[in-house]
Every structure is written in structure tokens, then in C-alpha cells.
Amino acid sequence: MNKSKSIFLYNYSFLSLLNLIKKLIQNKIVPNDIKNYDYQANLFDNTINLKVPEDEKVINDIINHFGVNILNIMFKVFLSNEQYKELIIYYFWLYSIKYKNKVVYMRNLKVVNKALKISKYVGKEAHRLKGFLRFSELENNVLYAEMAPENNIIIFLSMHFKKRLKNEFWIIKDVKRGILSVYNKKDYFFINENEYKLLTKNVSNEEKNIRNLWKTFYKNISINERKNIRCQMNFMPKKYWQYITEMRDDNEENYK
């Protein structure tokens, strides 16, 4: 008996993954796993690269057949940190064929429930970071922010700040993934940290004063008689504190 696992490979992108899954479903192939090109195969793996062309038509297919909501769920699962996210999207797709847009009410199915949970978690983290992200003003007037989210949510933040800070130059860096989103007052683009060098990391003259004003406000707005650190940490988990101005000690401020 053949014990090797068939693992199908795709070219990193969401589009590539969707085209691969479409192909697998059309040919009634049930994969043991789906991974991107970085996957380190072990002895028993049988890695298969179908080299499916990246056709944008697949996006419309999904929207037309299942609705835009289903596409959004798949996209958010894709951006998550989940180990088997590709396989979850594959099975979620299969159930979407059966239940169409009503698949989101089929929480009794394990995979569907999982996909919905992951999608919600990714959306929640994106929403949280719209609040928790902190820009510093660099000496060349660029606003610069670093973050280390669990999920790859830089695209949601970029869309948000493109609208909000449309007349500023800004750069957001996902430190965990080494990706930067660079906005030039017209549009943002994503670039690998190895391919982009910041002109300066020195902050503007005003930056320190403004940070001190903010820290003063932060301290004074709290009501001591109501102190509730557990509640604070529930809403603003400690894992984010490193990049939140008011939660850092003055002497550990990065990018001076």
C-alpha cells in the first residue's frame, strides 16, 4: 500500500491557491495537504506541483456561485496563522458547493465552524490593530509604524490608513513577516524588507514631546479607584504592548 502523502504546492498567493483548489475539485482529487513552495517535504511526502495558471476568473466564480461573503471568509483564513489553512479552505469550498451562501449557518460541520472561527479571529485582530497601531513621525515627515500581529493583516490596515491618512506619507512594517506597506499619497504597495531600505529611522524633533504628552494623558485619564488590570489586558493583550507607545518604558523606546 502506498503510504506516502500527496501534498499539492501553490505559488504563495491567494490567487494561486484558489486556482489549485479549483483544479483539484474539478478533477475530484482529495489532497492530504496543500502547502506553498516553502514547504519542507519529508521522506514520506509526495509533493506535486500542478503549475496551475493564476487566472483571476476564479474570484468571480466564487462570488457568482457562493457570494462575496464566502470569498471574504476564504481570504481571511488564507491570511491566518493556521497550520492547515489551505486544507480548511479546500473543505470549506467543498461544503460551499453543497450549501452555497448558507454554508455559514452550518456550524455543526467541524471544518465550517473552524473556518468561520479563524476568519472572525483574523478580522478581529485587523480591527484591533486599526486602534493599536502607533505611528512615529520621522525627521523626513514620514509616519512609520511597526507591528507584530498573529495574522497577516497588513492589507486591512493599508486600506484603512489609505483613507484615513491619505495626505501623509506612511509606512507600516510587519516585523514578524518582514513585509512593509509603503504609501506614497496615492496608493500603497507591499515590499519585502530586504528589498527596501528606510532613508532614515530618526524621529522628528517634535516626536518625543508628543509621546510625552500622550503618556501624560494616558496616565491621567485612568481612574485609580476603578483599577482593573485584568480587564485592561483582556481588551489589550500583552502581546501587542511592545509596539504601543504608552505601554513602553521610556528607556526601551525603539527607533529613537
Partner: protein, 408 residues
């Protein structure tokens, strides 16, 4: 450098004076950035959480903490010997713009002590907000306090500049106000609420109005408080009523001597407020003259359900949406999910958990396909009450300490 020192001290004083206002919501407005600096997010965004666990969304400050009034409970009252400060409009703009740019805040919440006269104070606030909107083209969220007894034309002007406008009723009855806030009376606040409600539009106070009541500074019952809320929600279409547990900042023989704010009571009022706004409850369903205060050991919905146990258990696979909402542990979102899902399959206890129902509360009040989660002979008020309280035991041990102090 000296100027910076002054500004930081002002900010410390004027944030300190503003912090007892509970509202920090930044939702309900769709201000789209065209040529402006910044926009608003309809759902609102929390930017930070202070060490008391409250959300920080707006730069919540006073224009000045100088005040002509002498409200007994207020830190900024005339008779208090504290440091006083006043911002210039430019200073407020500078801080707001710089905080917003760095994504510290969603916008500004400007309130004020009453200096010289209500109209003078309003004019100062309007000058500041106008500068922010017109010179700095600020498109972020602005919440302003309306000053009671101000002229109507100023209210009108301010309303077109801000997203939310609010006036605090402070205490639920006129007797309470007379006792603790002799310079205030409810008819002045009602006048403001009425004006805002009659003129609300997409351009005028688009995010609606809210108000606040202080809890535990006077003898009023929860029934008094909730009756007042219900009245204001119906009459003035308020977006929110905030409840602020009384924090003893002043010593006065008219004020209660408590050490810790009545936080559990505040929490119960918020829970009941939700029941009024989203769950179609009426005040008389949950409180009456015989029981004018909430049970501090149980949330209002569970408490209501136990007193009306004859309406339960509800069958999740067949009962109406309104009935689902009555089940403790079932919220709006999960009730909607149940309705959609049960058309597709028969819901079991296991599924309920996946759908986000808080089973440790809900299980006592429902059946799945005719089955109760345990022997139906245990479906008794005393048994359920005991178990619900046991489930919450962890919270309760903390709260008991507060309760005993509160009752001193």
C-alpha cells in the same frame, strides 16, 4: 521648552478633570475623508485601554476646569482648592492633530467647566472646534458637551461641527439634583436633548446624542434610574445612556461615605440598559416597587427568567426569535444564528456551543429536540439559581468585598 512644560501640565490637569465622564464611544458617524485630514469609522475604534480597563478612543479633555458651579460630587466644583487651567483653541488643535496623526486617538471629546457664563463657555468650545474643522480640516470624530442654559443659536452652530453632542442629566430625579447640584436642573438638560432630537440630520449631530447618570451618590433606586433611561430613550431617541459609578472625590456631608465605587451595580444597570434597547424588555418586566433594585448576584436577564420560570424551558428548534432573546446566555447574534441554522439541521447542545451560546447559563432554560440537559425534575428555580450563582462564584468573591464596603 517652558511652553512645552506648561502644555503637558495643562493636559494632565484637564484630562484628570474630564475622566469621570464614562462616554468614549466613537461610533455611529460616516465622515468620509475627501479633502480632510482623517475620517471616522462607523463601528468606532478603541485605541487603547487605561489601567481601569476602560476604552480610550477619544482625546477626552476639558476646555477648562474653572467652574462657576458647585456640584457636590464633582472634582472641578468651585469650592475645591485645586489647580486650574485653561487651554487655548490652538493648543487643543495641536494636541488633537498630533495624536490623531500618530493613531493614538479616533478624535476629540471636548467638555468644559462653566467659565464666566454658559454662552461664553460654548463660544470658547465652538471657536476651538471650528478651528479644528476649518483651519486644520480635521475629519475625525468629535464629541462635544453642550453646556446647559446656553443660547439655542450656539447649540445649532456646535451641532453642525460635531459628530455627537451630549448633555449630562447627572441624576435621575430633581430631588437628587437639588441636593447635590443646586445650580443644575433637569429642564435645562431636557431642553438641549429636545433641540438635538428635533434637528438631528446627516449634517447635524450625525452620531446622535447620549447622556450620563451618576450611580450611588444619592438614594435613588435602580428603578428610578431605569425609568429615567427608558423615558429618555423614548422621548429623545438617545443613542446611549451611560452609567457612572460614583467615585468619592470630595468630602461632603451630603455625599455617601464609600471607599469603592459601586461597580457591580453599574454593571447591572448596563446589562439592563441592553435589555431595554436590544431585547425588547420593558423596565416593569425587570424591576417593580417591591423589587426596586437589581439582584447583585445575578444578571437582570437570569434574574427575570428565574422569576418567570413558567415561560421556560424554551425549545430552541421551534420557539420564536423573540423567545430566543429571552433565554439567558443567548444574545442577538446567536439568536439570529439559531433561526438561520435550524432551517438546515436539527440543533443539538453540541451545536449550540459552536454557535456562541453561553451554555453554562443557557442550558437551564432550554431544550434541544425536547430534551433537557439533565433530569427535568431538577428544573426548579431554587436549583437553577444556586447553580448559576456557583458558576459565577469566581466573580462573586471579588464583588462581595466591594459590596460590603459599599454598604458600610
Amino acid at each position: 521648552m517652558v511652553i512645552e512644560m506648561e502644555l503637558i501640565e495643562k493636559l494632565a490637569i484637564l484630562a484628570d478633570g474630564a475622566k469621570y465622564d464614562a462616554s468614549c464611544s466613537s461610533s455611529g458617524s460616516r465622515r468620509i475623508s475627501k479633502n480632510t485630514f482623517g475620517n471616522t469609522s462607523f463601528s468606532g475604534i478603541c485605541h487603547s485601554f487605561s489601567s481601569d480597563g476602560r476604552c480610550i478612543s477619544l482625546l477626552k479633555i476639558l476646555m477648562t476646569n474653572c467652574c462657576m458651579f458647585d456640584c457636590k460630587y464633582c472634582l472641578n466644583r468651585k469650592s475645591n482648592d485645586i489647580k486650574r487651567a485653561i487651554f487655548t483653541p490652538e493648543e487643543v488643535c495641536k494636541i488633537t492633530i498630533n495624536f490623531y496623526k500618530r493613531n493614538y486617538i479616533e478624535g476629540l471629546f471636548l467638555s468644559s467647566g462653566i467659565i464666566k457664563s454658559p454662552d461664553y463657555t460654548m463660544e470658547l468650545m465652538i471657536e476651538t472646534i471650528e478651528l479644528l474643522r476649518k483651519k486644520y480640516h480635521f475629519g475625525g470624530y468629535i464629541h462635544a458637551k453642550a453646556i446647559p442654559k446656553c443660547s439655542e443659536y450656539l447649540l445649532k452652530k456646535l451641532g453642525f461641527l460635531v459628530d455627537r453632542l451630549s448633555a449630562n442629566i447627572e441624576l435621575p430625579t430633581d430631588e437628587g439634583l437639588k441636593l447635590l447640584a443646586p445650580n443644575k436642573n433637569s429642564s435645562n438638560v431636557n431642553k438641549i436633548m429636545n433641540y438635538i432630537n428635533n434637528n438631528k440630520s446627516k449634517k447635524f449631530v450625525p452620531a446622535g446624542q447620549s447622556t450620563q447618570m451618576i450611580i450611588g451618590a444619592t438614594k435613588e433606586t435602580d428603578l428610578d434610574v431605569m425609568k429615567k433611561s427608558e423615558f429618555m430613550y423614548n422621548k429623545y431617541k438617545l443613542k446611549r445612556v451611560f452609567y457612572s459609578a460614583y467615585v468619592p472625590v470630595n468630602k461632603d456631608k451630603l455625599l455617601p461615605t464609600i471607599k469603592i465605587p459601586p461597580l457591580t451595580r453599574e454593571n447591572r444597570l448596563y446589562q439592563a440598559d441592553w435589555l431595554l434597547r436590544f431585547y425588547n424588555f420593558k423596565v416593569e418586566d425587570i424591576l417593580d416597587k417591591k423589587n426596586p433594585n437589581f439582584n447583585l448576584l445575578l444578571d437582570p436577564k437570569a434574574d427575570w427568567a428565574l422569576r418567570n420560570l413558567n415561560e421556560f424551558p424554551k425549545e430552541v428548534n421551534t420557539c420564536s426569535y423573540q423567545d430566543l432573546l429571552k433565554i439567558p446566555g443567548v444574545g442577538i447574534v446567536s439568536a439570529k444564528r439559531i433561526i438561520k441554522s435550524r432551517n438546515l439541521f436539527n440543533i443539538t447542545f453540541k451545536d449550540l456551543k459552536k454557535m456562541g451560546i453561553v451554555l453554562k447559563r443557557a442550558k437551564y432554560f432550554l431544550t434541544c429536540n425536547g430534551r433537557y440537559f439533565m433530569d427535568i425534575n431538577f428544573f426548579k428555580s431554587s436549583f437553577i439559581e444556586k447553580n448559576l450563582i456557583l458558576e459565577d462564584k469566581k466573580n462573586i468573591t471579588e464583588n462581595i468585598e466591594q459590596l460590603t464596603l459599599f454598604n458600610e
